[in-house]
Symmetry: C2
């Protein structure tokens, strides 16, 4: 199982600092959606230039113009780009076309999709590299949110999946046991007093 | 009915050129999602500084972290920010909270929402300024797309709405008759040989 850090910071400078602290412990470095919107795709280029040996994930959460948005993100140095599962099929298929042209990958983020299992199978058939079983920052704060539902959906779908939404040192074991391809950790790394130590602990928890 | 130009260009320079050509004919200047992702929110600031008398719409199409994304866009000079209707209620409510703090507005983009009428009523009750009855660029290219469905949904919902997806000089009359608050024109302006003349013709078609 790979470890992905989600950098939900707002500036390229803060992202470069965080990536520098944690890169040695992670496989995939994600630029969060607010960071991309705040700074533009130059932030993707800056991170890829600083960490050419890591997979760089641009969390575009694209809802329309799939081929165009994916193309400009890959051109900026992204290895993986996210498209929303809530988007229309043609948007996802367009993004996958751009990924093939760049020899890169599309991740379909299932945030907000009611039937994540069915959609996961559909978009994997289209050619998505993996799907993201994802509860958003807002959804995690809602009453009744349970992390276990994401794991159950991943196990049931039987397609390559990542899990995002509350992963920390005490939950990452369950993510691996559920068969995830990638575990995505955000605030448990970037909000830690020592992000490097937090990332190292997560890495050590992967067996 | 107000006229909004959707600037689906990729660079701040191209956006400033286009806005300069068409501003006198439009009420709202929209920075499209690919432009925001490509350039970052500095593009919003550049357009607002160049056109302080116009409403500037940042088409963020936010799916998560609603309050944060709306806040940074308003801080960059946006008057209106779009949030996806496909997002969770807490994301939309968070964005509306940010809008109230800045004395600005949230537009809920109903792209990809199956039951646009029900969702339009829900998010208007939350405090959205208006909803956008929207067929995306990808959806417009699909077989079977009909513009009329968007108008019917707007008329049925009986809440303030804009219409986006294929508006040109021959369709804008029907948009006004359907009772839209805002007509959004994109490619019929920015792909025209003479964008200023195209915008002027749309303006003249509003009675």
């Amino acid at each position: 199982m790979k470890l992905q850090v989600a950098m939900d910071v707002l500036t390229t400078e803060a992202a470069l600092t965080l990536a520098g602290q944690v890169a040695e412990y992670v496989d995939i470095i994600e630029l969060g959606t607010p960071l991309v919107k705040h700074e533009g795709l130059s932030a993707v280029r800056a991170i890829k230039d600083a960490h050419p040996d890591k997979l760089v994930f641009a969390d575009l959460k694209t809802m329309d113009a799939g081929e165009l948005e994916a193309d400009i993100a890959f051109s900026a140095g992204a290895d993986l780009v996210s498209i929303l599962g809530a988007a229309g099929d043609s948007t996802i298929i367009g993004a996958i076309k751009a990924a093939k042209a760049h020899n890169k990958g599309i991740v379909v983020d299932l945030i907000g999709v009611a039937d994540k299992v069915t959609r996961a199978k559909e978009v994997t058939a289209f050619g998505a590299t993996f799907v993201e079983m994802h509860a958003g920052l807002d959804e995690q704060a809602e009453p009744g949110f349970t992390f276990q539902t994401l794991l159950n959906d991943g196990e049931t779908a039987k397609v390559p999946f990542s899990v995002a939404g509350g992963i920390n040192a005490s939950t990452i074991g369950a993510v691996q046991r559920a068969g995830a391809t990638v575990a995505v950790a955000g605030s448990s790394i970037y909000s830690a007093a020592d992000p490097a130590a937090a990332a190292a602990a997560l890495r050590a928890a992967i067996v």
